[in-house]
C-alpha cells in the first residue's frame, strides 16, 4: 500500500510538472521547433530544469550505501549501451510523429485528465502505434528464429 500511495504522488508531481512546463500544450511544443516562424524557446528550460535535478539526483540515489531502492530489491536500469539502427530509426520516426501532432507520450499522459478530445485521440492512436510496432517486432523475431532453426 505504501508503495502504491508513494508512486501515486510521484505520478502527480510528474503530471503537475508536465502541465506547468508547457509540454502538454502542442502549440508551445511545435513553436519550440519552429525556429524560422513563431519560435518559443520556453521548452529548453523544461529539459534543462529536469536534467539539472535528475543528473545529481540519480547519482546520489545510486551512490547510497544500501545499493538498492527503498521499496524494491534492485534498480531496473537499462544496461544496453550499444547504438543500433533500431534505436536511431525509431527515434527519427518518433521525431516525425511529434512534429506532426505536437504531443509526445509524456506530454499526453497527464493531459488525458483534461479530457481534451485532441489528447484522447492522440493517446488512442499512440496506443495503436505501440501495439502495431510490438506486433511487427514479434513477427520479425519469430522469422529470425525460424530462419536459424
Amino acid at each position: 500500500m505504501k508503495r502504491i500511495v508513494s508512486t501515486y504522488f510521484i505520478g502527480l508531481i510528474f503530471g503537475i510538472g508536465i502541465m506547468m512546463s508547457g509540454m502538454a500544450n502542442p502549440a508551445k511544443v511545435l513553436n519550440f521547433f519552429d525556429f524560422f516562424g513563431t519560435w518559443d524557446p520556453s521548452l529548453i528550460f523544461v529539459m534543462g530544469g529536469a536534467i539539472l535535478v535528475a543528473a545529481p539526483g540519480y547519482w546520489l540515489v545510486v551512490a547510497r550505501p544500501a545499493g538498492k531502492p527503498l521499496m524494491d530489491a534492485k534498480f531496473h536500469v537499462p544496461q544496453n549501451r550499444k547504438l543500433d539502427a533500431k534505436l536511431i530509426g525509431g527515434s527519427a520516426v518518433f521525431g516525425v510523429g511529434w512534429g506532426i501532432a505536437g504531443f509526445c507520450p509524456g506530454g499526453a499522459l497527464p493531459a488525458i485528465g483534461t479530457l481534451n478530445p485532441a489528447v484522447l485521440i492522440f493517446t488512442a492512436a499512440l496506443i495503436a502505434g505501440i501495439f502495431a510496432a510490438k506486433f511487427t517486432q514479434n513477427l520479425t523475431a519469430r522469422r529470425a528464429k525460424s530462419a536459424t532453426a
Binding site: 508512486t7 503537475i16 508536465i18 535528475a54 540515489v61 521499496m71 527519427a92 509524456g106 485528465g113 481534451n116
Partner: protein, 143 residues
C-alpha cells in the same frame, strides 16, 4: 499561433519533472519514461508490475484536476493541428517510441541524466527530426 515565452513556469515544471524522476528511482528503482510505463501498463509482466504503473498513471492524470482546483484555471492546451494529423502523428509516435525504446521523458530526461550514450543519440535524433518535420509542414507546405 504565437505562444507566450514562459521561462520560469517551464523551468519550474522541469524541476518538478526532474524531482519525480529521482523519487521514482529512489523508491522503486525505475526509469520515469512515459513510453515504458504505458507499454508495461498495457502488457504487464505481473500483478505487482502492473500496480505501480497504474498508480503512477493515476497520479499523472489527476494533476490537471488538482491544478484547476488550486488555481481556479484549467491548464492551457492549444491544438494548432487537425484531427487527422493527431491520429497520424499519434500512430507514428507509437511506432517510433517502441522501436526507439523511449521518448522525451525516458531518453531526453532520464537517459540524458544518466549520460547514457543510447539516450543521447536518441534525443539528438528525435529533436532533429521533429524540427525538420515542423519546418517542412509549416514552411514548405505552408501548414
Amino acid at each position: 499561433m504565437i505562444t507566450e515565452f514562459t521561462p520560469l513556469m517551464s523551468l519550474f515544471g522541469g524541476l518538478l519533472i526532474g524531482s519525480s524522476t529521482v523519487l521514482l528511482m529512489l523508491t522503486l528503482g525505475r526509469i520515469m519514461g512515459a513510453t515504458g510505463v504505458l507499454a508495461g501498463f498495457m502488457q504487464p509482466s505481473s500483478a505487482t508490475d502492473w500496480s505501480w504503473r497504474a498508480a503512477l498513471l493515476a497520479g499523472m492524470v489527476t494533476a490537471p484536476a488538482l491544478m484547476t482546483l488550486v488555481t481556479g484555471q484549467a491548464p492551457e492546451i492549444q491544438v494548432p493541428v487537425n484531427t487527422l494529423m493527431m491520429i497520424v502523428g499519434g500512430f507514428i509516435v507509437g511506432v517510433g517510441v517502441t522501436y526507439g525504446a523511449g521518448c522525451t521523458s525516458g531518453h531526453g530526461v532520464c537517459g540524458m541524466a544518466r549520460f547514457s550514450p543510447r539516450s543521447i543519440a536518441a534525443t539528438i535524433t528525435f529533436m532533429i527530426f521533429t524540427a525538420i518535420t515542423v519546418y517542412v509542414l509549416r514552411h514548405v507546405f505552408g501548414g
